[in-house]
């Protein structure tokens, strides 16, 4: 142990000395990861914010235009407004459905049923699939003229005519959500299974001794104890769903028309197809703000629920 002057920042033990071999090694271990990650996350993020204030494009080196892109986007660009609305509705619907269904599956899976290993394996399959592939798979199922889904519904007498899964705008919006929920619900279930497994058995047993039935125990004991996990799932899924791009590309390509064009698909269109870097970046900044808002709200709730439990 060193006894001489402690390095700045080495408050706890006074162990490492500045510029001695060990201190250099510490940074040598941290900096490659840190610098590389910053180069690919926050630095491009700042560049995007800067680009969004210019009218740069492939053919135009770009001049500073202030908030003009945003002004145009939010007041005149109807496609963007629709896209923003659908992104929010899509994110809310798929996140909530995933959380509710995932919790249900997790509770079911924790009932000590047989074949748990097999069930886990099956559950992991949709999760392990590339989102684009999931989109392609469901496009086969949703095929309208004589796809399997329509056939089964007709046979079962649940519908009278062929459902226009992907060609009817309203229906396509729902079809995309179904695909997303199918793809991600097992991940949510896995998180909840871990959370349920770590709940204290004593509390639940005490509630049973007090005469609470299974439903009451779930509602008044399990659910409140799960609150941090629920916020965590809502946060992570919400932030992921709001950025959805690939499975929609695989399923509908944003169509019919612009019905399922989420913000990510729309900004892709502007930035990489039309090569309007400035305007595309402005849309990306809106996407960023949405992501940060979702993350912020649930991170705050998570933090609050954590401190409350700790007290």
């Amino acid at each position: 142990m060193t006894t001489s002057t402690a390095a700045p920042g080495a408050r706890e033990h006074g162990r490492p000395r500045l510029l001695t071999g060990r201190y250099a090694i510490i940074y040598l271990f941290v900096l490659p990861a840190f610098v590389l990650r910053m180069l690919y996350s926050f630095i491009p993020l700042v560049q995007t914010v800067w680009l969004s204030l210019t009218n740069r494009s492939l053919v135009n080196p770009g001049a500073f235009v202030g908030l003009q892109n945003y002004q145009f986007a939010l007041t005149r660009d109807k496609t963007l407004i629709n896209s923003l609305g659908y992104t929010i509705a899509y994110t809310a619907a798929s996140t909530i459905l995933e959380t509710v269904l995932g919790l249900g599956i997790a509770v079911l899976m924790m009932q000590r049923l047989r074949g748990r290993g097999f069930s886990n394996f099956v559950m992991l399959l949709p999760w392990v699939m590339a989102p684009l592939l999931a989109g392609v798979v469901w496009r086969v199922l949703y095929w309208e003229q004589s796809g399997l889904l329509n056939f089964m519904l007709l046979e079962a007498g649940l519908v009278d005519e062929l459902v226009r899964w992907l060609s009817d705008p309203a229906m396509a919006r729902v079809s995309v959500i179904v695909l997303t929920v199918w793809k991600n619900v097992s991940w949510v279930a896995l998180i909840f299974m871990a959370a349920l497994g770590s709940l204290s058995k004593e509390v639940l047993e005490a509630a049973a001794v007090d005469g609470a039935n299974a439903l009451q125990r779930f509602w008044y004991v399990t659910l409140p104890l799960l609150r941090p996990s629920i916020y965590l799932v809502l946060m992570l899924r919400g932030m992921a769903e709001v950025q959805t791009f690939e499975q929609i590309l695989g399923l509908t390509q944003g169509g019919p028309g612009n019905a399922t064009r989420t913000l990510a698909l729309y900004s892709y269109q502007r930035f990489f197809v039309e090569l309007r870097y400035g305007y595309g970046s402005a849309i990306n900044v809106l996407l960023l703000l949405l992501t940060v808002a979702i993350g912020g709200v649930f991170a705050w709730l998570l933090y609050r629920s954590g401190t409350r439990v700790a007290r």
Binding site: G9, R22, Y27, L36, V140, W187, A194
Partner: protein, 293 residues
């Protein structure tokens, strides 16, 4: 799953018809699993149908005859093997790099005190929240300017950087679970920074590193957006991208659903034995990263 776990400590019966409840639970489980599995099953089924059989009305859930002819056709026409090798290289090298660099950073975060530690750790973790789409544009422009566009190392670097937060988080948790007393004991035995890492930390954290590597490998395997924008050349395009480049079959007017299904199977299949082998570790891996912060 060991049989002991399932049989020990059944829950207290809380309904008179406990058997009925069990039955209901199994029925629900079956429905859930069928719903989750069916689309994947149907992809397999479609892949062994001819296009004519697939297009037949009424459609079939179980193929009438199993026909593997589509596979050799796709493996040849779709250049599957070069695509596979390329995907393994890109996903594998980036996962390896991220596990290594992330593991090194996690070691410093876990075992050392230094200026800027809290800030660097927070920034690394917070960078998870930066949407890929938001970084893609500037990365594209920069890559275009410095000539990294459409190169293998360019895309590997993107995946590597993308995997770092997860690697740091998971391995940081693993390292922290190694008791500090072991460090002190190693220090008394004369182990320095590297000695402690190789003799104390790594033997215990190696399963964690393996899980991290696998999670990142799967993530790289399935990544699409960056590869879609940053690569053009057929020798660099990974398998997920090439799902968009499925060749047309004999009837060029008809969408080749059967070939899409074959492509899907060929992209998914290499992950399945991997998943079989490590599903339990993956489950803990996922939850480690997410629940334990």
């Amino acid at each position: 799953m060991s049989a002991q776990v399932t049989q020990r400590a059944r829950p207290v019966p809380f309904l008179t018809g406990e058997r009925l409840l069990r039955l209901l639970q199994y029925a629900l489980l079956l429905v859930t699993l069928v719903l989750l599995l069916f689309p994947i099953y149907y992809m397999f089924a479609t892949s062994v149908m001819t296009l004519d059989e697939f297009l037949r009305v009424p459609p079939r859930i179980v193929p009438g005859s199993i026909n593997f002819d589509n596979y050799p056709f796709m493996i040849r026409r779709w250049d599957y093997v070069p695509g596979l090798i390329n995907t393994i290289m890109i996903a594998g090298l980036s996962a390896l790099g991220a596990t290594l660099l992330g593991g090194m950073a996690a070691y410093s975060f876990s075992r050392a005190t230094f200026a800027g530690k809290a800030l660097m750790y927070s920034l690394l973790v917070a960078s998870i929240a930066v949407p890929a789409m938001v970084t893609l544009g500037p990365i594209f422009i920069t890559y275009f300017d410095i000539g990294l566009l459409d190169t293998r190392h360019g895309i590997i670097l993107v995946y590597l950087a993308g995997g770092l937060p997860l690697a740091v988080l998971v391995l940081f948790t693993y390292y922290n679970s190694v008791p500090r007393e072991l460090d002190d004991a190693a220090a008394i035995d004369g182990c320095g920074w590297f000695g402690t890492l190789f003799r104390v930390i790594l033997p215990i954290a190696l399963p964690g590193a393996f899980v991290t590597f696998l999670l990142l490998l799967i993530a790289g395997w399935n990544e699409f957006l960056f590869a879609f924008v940053l690569t053009v050349g057929p020798e660099i395009r990974v398998l997920t991208l090439r799902l968009l480049e499925v060749p047309s079959g004999t009837n060029i007017m008809q969408v080749p659903y059967d070939l899409y299904a074959v492509g899907g199977v060929l992209v998914l299949l290499p992950l399945v034995p991997l998943l079989f082998r490590v599903q339990k570790q993956l489950v803990t891996g996922i939850t480690f990263g997410a629940v334990k912060e």
